[in-house]
Amino acid sequence: MKEIVIISGKGGTGKTSIAASFAALANGNAVMADCDVDAADLHLILKPEIGLRSEFRSGHKAAIRPENCIGCGKCAEVCRFGAVRDGTTWVAYPGVTYSIDPIACEGCGVCVSLCPARTIDFPEEICGEWYVSTTRFGTMVHAKLGIAAENSGKLVTLVRSEAKRLAQEQEADYVLIDGSPGIGCPVIASLTAANLALIVTEPTVSGDHDLRRIVSLTKQLRVPAMVCVNKWDINIAATEMIKDFAQSQGIGFAGLVRYDKAVTQAQRKLETVTEFCSEGVAVDIQSIWNAVTKAIWQYDT
């Protein structure tokens, strides 16, 4: 069983369109994991029927019980995240000056431990929900991070490990992970110890810049990477530069996807590109899938 992460650095390069098509092409031989938990879109195309729904509990948030607050200000003094509001900016309760801004609270618990009146509660947070679902291409694990919630990295880890477990149980060959943009915490959580990262980039100055940073991250995490260029014909010179860069870094080149309105049309019909059409851009994606699945069994991970 192999875990393939579809990732990009820059947002909006076509990760989800490619991941959804891969789900169709794997047709039953993969478990899908949407690890872009704070802007998940894969479900729009795969239309999962939710089978199992679970709360995602993680971390804590401080909350001052105003009736016992003595107004000493210790909490404001020790909080490094600017999460304690004093009476000059916000009045929570008549006669009491301190309260916690739940959005700024980092959940460290310093104020809870040091409050002399012991009047700060520290309840566990529900940071979202995660689901195990059925789609027309097989099982999918996905999640929804709560509004303004934290711990997206932990939720990614949870979604990924559940998908992996199910793939092993079903004896599927692949886990297909739709990643998030960037190089920070959720990206690190979706990449660590994966078998292959397919980096989807575009031939623009931003795509090129962000590709270099995500390639460095895959190297640091020792995850083998391949690159494909979406909308390659928008800027042919930039596409050539990306190819050269991939070669110079010893990274496999998985292929080119042409600029084609069919990608947006398929999305509007809530279909994968390879279901929507069988020519043009669908052929491009098929050949990337072939390249990725051929390469992945050769890496010794």
Partner: protein
């Protein structure tokens, strides 16, 4: 005045809107500062091509344990919510990549065995691009936590200027750190199912934060009213549209400013600014 540009979905045109809005305002004679808070993948410099005049490391405090004083009582280990401290036999070990820098362990250690040192997480660079002040953060590769660096970038916002804040994609902590003190948030979307779904998530977030906001529809197509229908349903206002035009995509791909490269775009930014102005003053 702080104007943040955010989106939910990545690649909808946040950087295009924020860099061109900065240029537009600069040309109008306004004092403008552009702050790129997408510190994981900052792109604004590719378009504004600033002259960088200052660069300094951004650091967070992390604990250091004095092994001679530490008696491995475990108070710090029990306290740390992020599991950044672990006891192995008679020793306590620090895992700096998990530390949020809250300082709690240092304050709570009964033997006073913990002090703090700094750990670099990235850089804040600043300079000028014509008349526009430029600031961005660059997170070090492999660093998981961007909010502390984002807060350092935002420390360079100035009261005397219009601060244009280019936010990262998504709806979680890095976005919230970027837009928390904004007077107005522009949400950039595109009229596709993904664009509008993620706009919905961004609206949920922004309504929780209670910040005034408006929508810019990028890659708008004549005859497609999906964004209008969606915004009407969510009772939010579309304040500008940027047409779907291959010339825009091509000039973007080369790192050009669409304000100068594509005729007729200036009026869209004038319209956007008029609308922001009206709502921020109201």
């Amino acid at each position: 005045m702080n104007i943040a540009i955010a989106s939910g979905k990545g690649g909808t045109g946040k950087t295009t809107v924020s860099t061109n809005l900065s240029l537009f305002l600069g040309e109008m004679g306004e004092k403008v500062r552009y702050l790129d808070c997408d510190v994981e993948e900052p792109n604004g410099h590719l378009f504004l091509k600033p002259e960088i005049l200052q660069s300094h490391a951004a650091v967070i405090p992390i604990p250091v344990i004095d092994e001679k004083t530490c008696n491995a009582c475990g108070a710090c280990v029990r306290f740390c919510e992020y599991k950044a401290l672990i006891r192995l036999g008679k020793k306590v070990m620090v895992f700096p990549e998990l530390c949020h820098g809250c300082g709690g362990c240092t304050l709570l250690c009964p033997s006073f065995a913990i002090s703090e040192q700094t750990k670099e997480i990235g850089f804040v660079e600043s300079g000028i691009s014509g008349s526009i002040g430029f600031v961005h953060g660059r997170l070090n590769i492999g660093e998981a936590m961007s909010p502390p660096l984002i807060r350092k970038v935002l420390e360079q916002a100035t009261k005397e200027a219009i601060n244009i804040i280019d936010a990262p994609p998504g709806t979680s902590c890095p976005v919230i750190a970027s837009i928390r003190n904004a007077d107005f948030v522009v949400l950039v979307t595109e009229p596709t199912p993904f664009g509008l779904n993620d706009l919905g998530l961004a609206l949920d977030m922004i309504q929780e934060l209670r910040i005034p906001h408006g929508i810019v529809v990028n890659r708008a197509e004549t005859g497609n009213t999906d964004a209008e229908v969606f915004c009407e349903k969510r009772q939010v206002k579309i304040i500008a549209q940027i047409p779907d035009d291959r010339r825009i995509a091509e000039s973007y791909s080369r790192g050009e400013m669409i304000l100068t490269a594509v005729p007729g775009i200036r009026e869209r930014f004038a319209e956007l600014w008029r609308s922001i102005r009206k709502q921020v003053q109201a």
